[in-house]
Symmetry: C2
Subunit: 201 residues, 2 copies
């Protein structure tokens, strides 16, 4: 399976700006990208990083400076998949389940209405990553008479965008992203509600 | 599979206090409980509601006023499962996958370190729902030489505790909980980040 991994190479992860400085955000975003590419390869996929800027990385890179939606539409050639570069909990098993799910379109929902991973086997399906994309993708498939399925995966649902998401990486990750956070001094912090993170040192 | 569904009958869902008043929280919590019980039954499980107060509901109810951990430990008789009453996105398919996962202990992680569903097939495993329970349950299993597995499910991972979680119900639910929110005037609201909810009328 060809897998596009879109990556915002310039100023990634701005919603973590209160928690990580710009250099840290870039380093952490790269750690997540590498974790995702590793998992794609381990699941038998062939990742191509779709980056907004040139990028030094082992995997093939295609540079497209346009916003996410037109860039993906230009480079997605079915059958193919799109896996976001910030699903840091991803495992080969989760991706194998995604790739093995039948359907002309297979959606892995993200928290808050995102589409964290997508398999497109039908021609004529246009992506739309703006706004509540999981709803828009379902509607687009329905409107085009395309059979759309979902894959039910926590590891694909959690994209790392906000400070509270960092706890998920510490709890469930075992790759570069989790190591990066630990080395940067992040530790789990229990609260009355969901466990979050604190930074030491 | 016998399935305990713990339910805080008195003042449920306090973290939604800024969004729903006390009567609304009680009604919404009950809608979620019924959705969970329906899904358990549809997946071939036999739910027993473990409630802190007497409760009028079709399913069997056991009342235990103690905190969650001692109450579950007292009433969990392996092989059996525990499914939280607020996993409003749950489907029979997600529960079938949970029940079918082999292992003496099977954990469905919740957002923020929770344990939203649990299958216990081994004697001698003690639950601990306080704090970061997913980590504590893994450690307890390891310490007792018990084989613990995880099930990777978005629908089991999202428990509905906080206002932003309500968007997940509107996006992915199709039972009483989603209907309750729609009837109460909640609609999806797009933001720059994750989609959330707004209330009209």
């Amino acid at each position: 399976m060809d897998v596009l991994v879109p990556f915002a190479a310039r100023e990634p992860k701005t919603r973590l700006a209160g928690t990580l400085d710009a250099d840290e955000r870039a380093a952490f975003a790269r750690a997540m990208l590498l974790d995702v590419c590793d998992a794609v390869e381990a699941a038998g996929g062939e990742p191509t990083v779709l980056a907004t800027e040139p990028l030094a990385i082992e995997q093939p890179v295609v540079v497209d400076k346009r916003p996410l939606t037109p860039a993906i539409d230009a480079h997605l050639s079915p059958p193919a998949a799109v896996v976001m570069a910030d699903v840091a909990l991803v495992t080969p098993a989760a991706l194998r389940r995604l790739f093995a799910t039948t359907g002309d379109v297979v959606i892995a929902p993200g928290l808050g209405g995102g589409t964290n991973a997508l398999v497109v086997r039908a021609d004529g399906f246009t992506v739309d990553y703006h706004g509540t994309s999981v709803r828009d993708h379902r509607r687009a498939a329905e409107g085009a008479g395309i059979d759309a399925r979902s894959v039910d995966s926590f590891r694909l649902a959690v994209d790392i965008d906000e400070p509270t998401d960092l706890a998920e990486v510490l709890l469930h990750g075992d790759g570069r992203s989790a190591d990066w956070l630990k080395n940067a001094g992040f530790r789990l912090a229990e609260t009355d509600g969901r466990t979050t993170v604190e930074r030491r040192g």
